[in-house]
């Protein structure tokens, strides 16, 4: 197996694991961690493409995705805290209605 194929398979498996985690977990924070795994898999694919084709734009895009992941984590965690701060347990199935 060549090295690019190995990393390519890893990105596919990581993405599948992350998608699985998003559906499997009930804790909002663990759910956000699964989304981070998804973003890491996409980033790894971008960097692999940049390396294999010798195009530095892939690595630059990976950096931008990194910043977007940070913004997503901030908003997601803020929402999770705001939703579950006054509840007994943190479970994404619990809030049935959300008031604006």
């Amino acid at each position: 197996m060549s090295a690019p194929t190995l990393v390519l398979g890893t990105t596919a498996a990581l993405f599948a694991l992350g998608a699985m985690g998003v559906l499997l977990r009930r804790n909002p924070v663990a759910l956000l961690m699964s989304i981070e795994i998804l973003l890491n898999a996409a980033n790894l694919l971008l960097v692999l493409g940049a390396r294999v084709w010798g195009n530095p734009a892939g690595q630059a895009t990976a950096l931008i995705v990194l910043v977007i992941a940070a913004a997503e984590a901030v908003i997601g965690l803020g929402l999770a805290l705001a939703l579950f701060r006054n509840r007994e347990r943190a479970d994404v199935d619990d809030p049935h209605e959300v008031y604006g």
């Binding site: 190995l6 398979g9 804790n27 924070v29 663990a30 961690m33 795994i37 803020g78 705001a82």
Partner: protein, 169 residues
């Protein structure tokens, strides 16, 4: 690149196993620590793929900032964020989605032919040139994005200031 196959395989194995731990462990603190291992493994893979700048950003932003943020939030969650076991419908849905995603991605990847030539690694300078050349607009747009994220997080927090709960925790 093929001479790095053993370290690459090691990094891939660590990244995959820690990702599995993140989604499988019940306690969010353990998940967050394994997310740290995962992000460091990804950074190591970036280094082996000659992406120094991306590896640096991965360590500083992911391992440094995001994982610490996760740990803070886990500490603030009710009951330490402990969760019950997933029901069998949830388990089935997760398993099916994971399998479908894997099959779809594998078939999509197997269609394209891998490039035959191994290009020489590029340093950080061309990355900067790409960032400030063709990718200038998305790069500049990340600044308002971060600003909106910070203001939004503060607004979400401030909006629902309520009297404290009746019974002490």
């Amino acid at each position: 690149m093929d001479e790095l196959i053993i370290p690459l395989a090691l990094g891939c194995a660590v990244a995959l196993l820690s990702a599995l731990g993140v989604i499988a462990l019940r306690r969010p603190v353990h998940s967050a620590m394994l997310l740290l291992v995962h992000s460091v493994a990804i950074a190591a893979l970036f280094l082996m793929l000659a992406a120094d700048l991306a590896a640096l950003g991965q360590v500083v932003i992911y391992s440094g900032a995001i994982v610490v943020l996760f740990l803070f939030v886990v500490a603030l969650l009710p009951a330490g964020g402990r969760e019950g076991a997933p029901g069998w419908t949830r388990f089935l849905a997760g398993l099916l989605t994971g399998a479908a995603m894997l099959v779809a991605l594998a078939s999509a990847f197997s269609v394209g032919t891998p490039p035959p030539v191994d290009s020489p690694p590029t340093g950080p300078a061309p990355v900067g040139r790409a960032l400030f050349g063709p990718l200038l607009v998305p790069f500049e747009l990340t600044a308002p994005l971060l600003l909106v994220a910070v203001v939004g997080a503060v607004a979400i927090w401030r909006r629902q200031e309520r009297p404290p709960r009746e019974q002490p925790r």
